[in-house]
Amino acid sequence: MNTFTLTLSAQERASSALLTPTQVGCVASGDLEVMVEPHRHPASEQAVINIQSSGSSSAERWTHIFQLISQQQPLPPMRMDIHDFAATPGVVRLRIEQALEMAQSSMTQPSVNQPNTPQEGPDHAI
């Protein structure tokens, strides 16, 4: 198992306080768990990513994945935790993008008073 912490400067000015704590995925074979939440100190402007990864992945590989993602969408200031169980780069990207999208969308708030609205809970699988 390898552990890394990547600290990237967030490209989005928005405060991380707007993020909804979100968890997706599972530490199962070929999958990973991704958690996104706001910083304890809202002033922080960095995306801090804590990674636990099985196998022989390297910090370079993870940096590369986040470079690719940030070309598609700006990273918000946030704390992200990744628990990876030998997921392929494709699955890794899908899960990270899923977590970011849900954390930044109001859909993650379960709609209590609208029974006909689909419940896109924080645990909704791809």
Binding site: M1, C26, V27, A28, D81, H83, N116, Q119
Partner: protein, 299 residues
């Protein structure tokens, strides 16, 4: 007479949801009444296994167990759902303590006059071997908590998903007030691969799916009296079955009270005979009159 439905609002088409395809958190959420799901010790509490990391194994933020409070059919319920994908749904110190704690919470509710029942969604290989005795101790606590709570309100076990329910947690399942399985579920003390390893592939081929499900699958377990219902695979069928058994209240006799009956059946087993699904079913469905004869012959 005024219509009960407001004009212009079309009723949504009920979607088929395959219960086993949901992850543990979704199973708990969907089984509870809409909007009533309230998770305790969720992922952001980060109550993780302190032992896996020391053994170079990636851990999960909820240690593979989802605990939720809510209502089923309007009645207070606590749910513990085991995530089969994480370490084969195995229970270590934290995961086991979460389930035991949830059951104890329901017991406290009952002692305070709140009739909280418990639902256990069991997809588990039993003790997490990396946590050895701590896992065993945790499962013993779960079993004690089930026995304490079932005197007040039903403890309902559901077995579904690809992992099945094995090891110490199969004993916990046997202690439940009611046990539900889907056809896809499997229930046994030892898992098929363990038996194959011990008995040899000629005796027990873990790859032979019709044989394995014939012995330990939901339908066989229902037909031989080990579970109370073999439900359909969809969410609605599972939820309906939970509501139905809960309405029956505390059973007059718990399955585990009938241990003498099952033990007598086991005594009729001839280890020299090759076991298949039909032989197992015939043996386990003998009537009690035959039991007495069989027990008599043994003594």
């Amino acid at each position: 007479m005024p219509s009960k439905h407001s004009v212009g609002v079309s009723m949504p088409v009920k979607k088929y949801v395959h219960f086993a395809d949901l992850n543990a958190r979704q199973r708990a959420r969907q089984l509870l009444d809409e909007g009533s799901f309230h998770e305790l010790l969720g992922p952001f509490d980060r109550l993780m296994s302190p032992w896996l990391t020391q053994q170079d194994i990636v851990s999960q933020s909820d240690d593979g167990v989802v605990i939720a409070q809510g209502c089923i059919d309007g009645k207070p319920t606590v749910i513990a759902a085991i995530e089969g994908g994480f370490q084969g749904g195995s229970l270590g110190e934290v995961a086991g303590a979460k389930i035991a704690g949830a059951l104890e919470l329901a017991l406290e509710d009952n002692l305070a006059g709140i009739p909280t029942a418990a639902v256990l969604i069991l997809e588990t290989g039993g003790v997490r071997l990396q946590e050895a005795n701590l896992g065993l101790a945790a499962i013993a606590e779960i079993q004690s908590a089930i026995v304490a709570l079932r005197e007040h309100q039903p403890v309902i076990g559901i077995i579904t998903g690809p992992v099945g329910c094995f090891g110490g947690m199969s004993i916990a399942a046997g202690l439940c007030s009611y046990l539900l399985m889907t056809r896809e579920g499997r229930l046994g003390l030892n898992g098929p691969q363990v038996i194959e390893q011990e008995a040899g592939i000629e005796e027990y081929n873990a790859q032979d799916k019709p044989f394995i499900w014939g012995i330990s699958g939901g339908l066989q377990r229902y037909q031989t009296g080990f579970v109370d219902a073999c439900t359909g695979e969809d969410l609605d069928a599972v939820r309906e079955a939970v509501i139905t058994v809960r309405q029956q209240g505390i059973p007059e006799h718990h399955r585990s009270d009938r241990w003498e009956h099952f033990l007598a059946l086991l005594h009729t087993l001839d280890p020299a005979e090759t076991m298949d699904a039909a032989v197992a079913k015939a043996m386990l469905t003998r009537t009690s009159a035959e039991d007495d004869t069989a027990t008599g012959a043994q003594s």
